[in-house]
């Protein structure tokens, strides 16, 4: 391993944080510098994440690019006390796609935020803090730091929504951005309380005096311990993944957030929850996972169907996408709950696919909202006449969302379905039906908003700007790339999933 490789994860995590710190010293009125600086940092980070993906050796599998720095020695009779808390970094086949996803969404999000003029400096600083936290969760191999980064990403989220967000105000329905931000905050904190209890319990039960996942994975936790503490992790992380019935923070949060934050929020942040269930829950407590998965199957299928019907019943364009995220995250949870190689692989790919796709959705919805200043579906008709590129992007995102072959959504959903039919066939049938319901609401939305005669109100609208085209174009490329050539992605994911499943069969 070269010097560069051993530092790459640290650099990826630290760059956004350092970038945020540097921006503190750029005068607030020089917004052009701030924008270009942010874009440059994000571009470099994205390039590094591509490097990690390309350089990850899927044949060898396991954790790679590892590096650890001792941070706090814990006093006590423990053998590993000197490594008590360490900044341990490393990625495996599950986190590599997540890191890359975060890189892509980060860069495209910066581009989409090009037109932000209101306190742009603070916006980008908080945005980078948020992303630094997200990267940290995906690369941390230490439970303490995993939790630390997790919390780090929640706080900027609150401010980003409450300050730069927008409220939904129909006559019959009002959601202020402050309400949504507060709800999101409280929910995530509630989730993290459960998580923290479980993490501390793991620490104490293991009796090794360390938070290192690598050391903890050697421990066989007793069956009872796993049965009690796995659900805490499942619900705690599940909240972040939009698990029903703890999902209501997510559509409200998506809608209230400014475009780039919605992209990160739905695209990446919700994945942290699913990732947490895998990395901490399934990885450290395979037996508990095995025992509790039927519950996750039950809740997951509710997510899929309930989210889809809720999306169909919405009036606000952004809420449709918000609820569709709830529905699609349900598929991720179902895939995880199968504990089957196809289902799990599909779940991880769906995390990536949904991340890219929903980022594209929010970018497009943002583009529409920026121009029309409304999101009321009833007000739109025939926008494609004026915004043919925006419409085309929306069509691509919509097709990926309804799982059309050739897009990433198809491969991911297919794998999840295959996994489900091997384990819970009835749920598999319901999940396929859920995908058909998605087609109904997505196509209805497309027909209503973009097609048909152009509404006179919107006759002066302009199409996507070059920077919007570029940004959305990147996302489209990944949707098609994964859809047409899933092999390079799946072999990485498969190496991670195989290790994970070996632990379950080993435990069972």
């Amino acid at each position: 391993m070269t010097m560069f490789d051993s530092y790459i994860l640290f650099i990826i995590t630290a760059l956004p944080l350092v970038g945020a710190a540097v921006m503190l010293f750029i005068p607030a009125h020089r917004q052009d510098i701030i924008r270009w600086f942010s874009a440059a940092v994000a571009l470099v980070v994205m390039a590094f994440t591509f490097y990690v993906f390309a350089a990850y050796d899927h044949e060898a599998g396991g954790f790679q690019f590892m590096r650890a720095w001792n941070w706090l020695e814990l006093p006590g009779p423990w053998t590993l006390g000197s490594q008590g808390i360490q900044l341990g970094l490393g990625v495996d086949g599950i986190s590599v796609p997540m890191v890359m996803l975060t890189g892509i969404v980060m860069f495209t999000g910066v581009l989409i935020s090009w037109k932000i003029v209101d306190r742009a400096k603070e916006f980008f600083i908080l945005y980078f803090l948020l992303l630094g936290g997200v990267f940290g969760v995906f690369v941390a191999l230490d439970l303490f730091f995993l939790f630390f980064f997790y919390e780090l990403s929640v706080v900027p989220m609150y401010l980003l929504i409450a300050v730069w967000g927008s409220s939904t105000d129909f006559k019959t329905f009002l959601r202020t951005k402050e309400y949504s931000a507060m709800k999101l905050m409280l929910y995530l904190v509630a989730g993290s309380v459960l998580i923290w209890i479980a993490l501390v319990a793991i620490f104490a039960e293991a009796g090794l005096g360390t938070f290192s996942i690598l050391a903890l994975q050697e421990i066989d936790f007793s069956r009872n311990f796993q049965l009690i503490f796995f659900p805490l992790l499942m619900i705690g992380f599940g909240i972040l993944a939009g698990l029903w019935p703890f999902h209501t923070w997510s559509p409200d949060g998506h809608v209230a957030a400014p475009t780039a934050v919605s992209m990160v929020h739905a695209g990446v942040l919700m994945k942290l929850g699913a990732y947490g269930i895998l990395r901490v829950g399934v990885f450290l407590m395979p037996e508990g996972a095995d025992r509790w998965m039927p519950l996750l199957i039950g809740l997951g299928i509710v997510n899929v169907l309930y989210g889809a019907f809720s999306a169909m019943g919405q009036r606000d364009l952004k809420y449709v996408i918000g609820y569709s995220s709830v529905s699609h995250m349900g598929l991720v949870l179902l895939g995880i709950a199968t504990l089957h190689p196809l289902g799990l692989g599909g779940a991880v790919l769906q995390m990536f696919s949904h991340g890219v796709m929903t980022a594209l959705f929010f970018a497009v919805v943002g583009a529409v909202y920026d121009r029309t200043h409304t999101r009321d579906i009833a007000m739109f008709s025939g926008l494609a006449k004026r915004m043919v590129v925006v419409a085309a992007f929306f069509v691509v995102a919509g097709l990926a969302s309804l799982g059309l072959p050739g897009t990433s959504g198809f491969v991911a959903e297919l794998l999840i379905f295959l996994g489900l039919f091997q384990t819970y066939p009835i749920v598999g049938v319901l999940a396929v039906i859920g995908a058909a319901i998605t087609a109904v609401y997505i196509l209805r939305l497309l027909a209503k908003v973009f097609f048909g005669p152009l509404d006179e109100r919107w006759k002066d609208q302009t199409d996507a700007s070059p920077i919007e085209k570029f940004s959305a174009g990147i996302l489209v490329v990944f949707i098609l790339l994964v859809g047409l050539f899933p092999f390079p992605f799946m072999r990485v994911i498969d190496s991670g999933v195989t290790t994970l499943l070996a632990r379950i069969t080993g435990a069972g």
């Binding site: 196809l342 058909a436 048909g452």
Partner: protein, 633 residues
């Protein structure tokens, strides 16, 4: 690569050409800014690219056919995805069935694209039109070549996408946008069945490969329950794409697309996919005889049901649309009777004739400022003789008039039904034959014969790009039947080509009867619509209720709309409201409120008054002491 090596192993190039043309044109359109010198030529270059791709495909088809005849079926595949022990691949299978479809699709698509040069001339999205045509053809070609179910499903869905884009081509029209959506959603509901059916077969056999699945099924490796379930689920998929009752609703609305698109969708692509799927999966269906009976019943219902609606439609394209549904029903009926060769024969005969009819109706619309109402027309044979003559040939073929293509194929279908199904089937089917002849006679006679009805219509013959395809198709509609029939013992014809030892027969009484019924249908049409011996208006008023039901297409669209508006959407709004009111406002805000309220109550406990604390403390100590005492005792 020398010419001799071009054969089955190059078959994959045919769909790949279409896909390449699609991407090429799309980037082409975007690459040049409007107004620049190159941009002026983008439309014609795009059309040329697309036509070149499909033309090369048609050329390649002959090489593939020659190779097939020489060295038998072949297949090959490339690796796509491995997961654990599961290998997924893209594969091509060229056998006699797929090569027939290959020829039909490339030929019709080529003609339709050439025809479109004239028909779509000057449209602002001319280039895009050809791009989507290429995509659509590529998907359909990939579908018929697929050697595994996964690849088939992928192409199947892409055909759906192509149809969505083509039907919705005039997206500024609300009706076109709605029709595109309806087609996509309806077929996708069928696809739920298809996908589940495929997954069930995969679960039972661990593979998507057709040959492996058939092998396992024939060796008894798949349980009867799974066979029945997957066969019926596959058929549900086929019903969606092939517009079988009750999934037929999308097809008439699909007329909102440009007319050449209708010709393509109705003749060779999309709707043929369902028939092809059942034919391809016949080894599975044969092992599930109950399902095969269901296929026959659905086919028969669709055949007669759609024919009755076609009798009263007044829009030329809608008459043709219901006629398509009806004939697809006939093909399914044939498959349900187990005669694949007859079904595919009818698919080809119908494909050629229907492409001819649609392109003919497009020629009429082109000449009459996009009019489609048949009572606006009349006497058009004088001003557009080529269109009229070719249209009459196509109509006669589908009406089953000897010796045209439709006559032969329909006869074979009926024969299969007679041999393998209950007599009731043949009786009802013969009634359907008479109906087909009647509605075909009606539309052809009203539009082209008789007197000019609307003085505002100034029709003229269409340009050669449009009439030449018509003539070519008409020649085929006349000759296909002759070519396909096994006239001598040494010439095996179409049936022998599709099935080893397969043969078309003639059962004289049935042939004569069906011919008489067809001619009688046409004769009635002549009397009513040309001679006016019986007034069609009087028939309509006499049987007002029946007429109203037919004109409203048995109210099935209304029923579906009602279910969507009053059940699905209401349910969706209920869930959305439930989420807001119960889960959020009660569950979430409620817990928030509870915390707030309890905090508000609890703060009175922290009064800071020493004697209050004293009282609480002594009460607490007393209670604890009591408990301690009780437990100890």
């Amino acid at each position: 690569m020398s010419l001799e090596t071009i054969g089955i192993s190059s078959a994959w190039v045919i769909p790949a050409l279409g896909a390449a043309a699609f991407f090429f044109i799309v980037f082409f359109i975007r690459a040049f800014t409007p107004g620049s010198a190159v941009a002026k030529h983008v439309p014609s270059l795009s059309a040329a690219t697309s036509i070149l791709a499909i033309g090369l495909g048609f050329l390649l088809f002959w090489f593939v056919l020659a190779d097939l005849l020489n060295s038998g079926p072949g297949s090959f595949s490339i690796h796509w995805l491995t997961l654990g022990d599961t290998r997924l691949s893209w594969g091509i299978l060229v056998d006699n069935l797929s090569v027939v479809m290959l020829g039909l699709v490339t030929f019709v698509a080529l003609l339709v694209q050439i025809y479109s040069l004239g028909y779509m001339k000057g449209h602002p999205r001319f280039a895009w039109y050809f791009a989507v045509h290429s995509l659509f053809a590529a998907a359909m070609l990939a579908l018929v070549l697929a050697d595994n179910l996964l690849f088939l499903y992928i192409s199947w869905e892409l055909v759906g996408l192509g149809s969505y884009l083509l039907i919705g081509f005039f997206y500024e029209k609300r009706s076109a946008a709605e029709a595109a959506k309806k087609a996509f959603v309806t077929t996708r509901i069928g696809d739920v069945g298809l996908l589940i059916g495929i997954i069930l077969l995969f679960k039972a056999t661990g593979t998507f490969e057709l040959s492996a699945i058939f092998h396992a099924a024939e060796a008894g490796g798949i349980s009867q329950t799974t066979l029945n379930a997957s066969a019926i689920l596959l058929f549900i998929g086929a019903m969606g794409k092939s517009a079988q009752f009750p999934f037929h609703v999308w097809l008439p609305d699909a007329m909102e697309g440009p007319t050449p698109v209708s010709a393509l969708i109705h003749a060779a692509t999309m709707v043929a996919a369902g028939v092809y799927l059942v034919a391809r999966m016949m080894p599975i269906f044969e092992l599930a005889p109950t399902v095969l009976l269901i296929v026959a019943v659905i086919g028969l219902i669709t055949f007669v049901f759609a024919a009755t609606i076609a009798l009263v439609m007044t829009d030329i394209k809608r008459v043709l649309a219901y006629s398509t549904i009806s004939h697809l029903g006939l093909m399914m009926l044939s498959l349900g009777a187990g005669s694949v060769a007859a079904a595919i024969f009818h698919l080809v005969a119908h494909g050629v004739s229907k492409a001819l009819l649609f392109l003919g109706s497009g020629s009429v619309m082109h000449a009459t400022e996009d009019r489609t109402h048949i009572w606006d027309m009349g006497g058009l044979h004088k001003v557009m003789p080529i269109t009229a003559f070719t249209f009459l040939i196509g109509a006669a073929s589908l009406a089953g008039i000897p010796p045209l293509a439709g006559f032969f194929s329909k006869d074979e279908v009926l024969l299969g039904v007679l041999d393998h199904r209950n007599p009731i089937f043949i009786v009802v089917a013969l009634a359907g034959v008479a109906l087909s002849a009647l509605y075909m006679a009606r539309v052809a006679f009203v539009v082209f014969l008789g007197k000019k009805r609307n003085p505002a219509v100034h029709a003229h013959e269409s340009p050669p790009t449009m009439t030449v395809p018509l003539i070519l198709l008409a020649v085929l509609a006349v000759s296909v039947g002759f070519i396909a029939f096994n006239w001598t013992d040494t010439y095996h014809g179409f049936a022998g080509f599709l099935e080893d030892g397969g043969k078309f027969h003639l059962t004289i009484w049935l042939t004569v009867l069906s011919a008489i019924l067809a001619i009688a249908g046409v004769a009635v049409g002549w009397l009513v619509y040309v001679r006016g011996t019986v007034s069609h208006e009087r028939i309509a008023t006499r049987f007002a209720t029946i007429h109203r039901i037919l004109v409203n297409k048995y109210y099935i669209d209304e029923l579906y709309q009602w279910v969507i508006d009053r059940v699905v959407l209401v349910f969706a709004r209920f869930i959305a409201l439930f989420d807001r009111v119960v889960i959020n406002d009660t569950g979430v805000d409620g817990s928030g409120l509870t915390v707030k309220l309890s905090a508000w109550r609890l703060r009175y406990l922290q009064s800071g008054l020493l004697y209050t604390y004293g009282i609480f403390m002594s009460v607490g100590v007393t209670v604890l002491a009591l408990i301690w005492w009780v437990v100890l005792a």
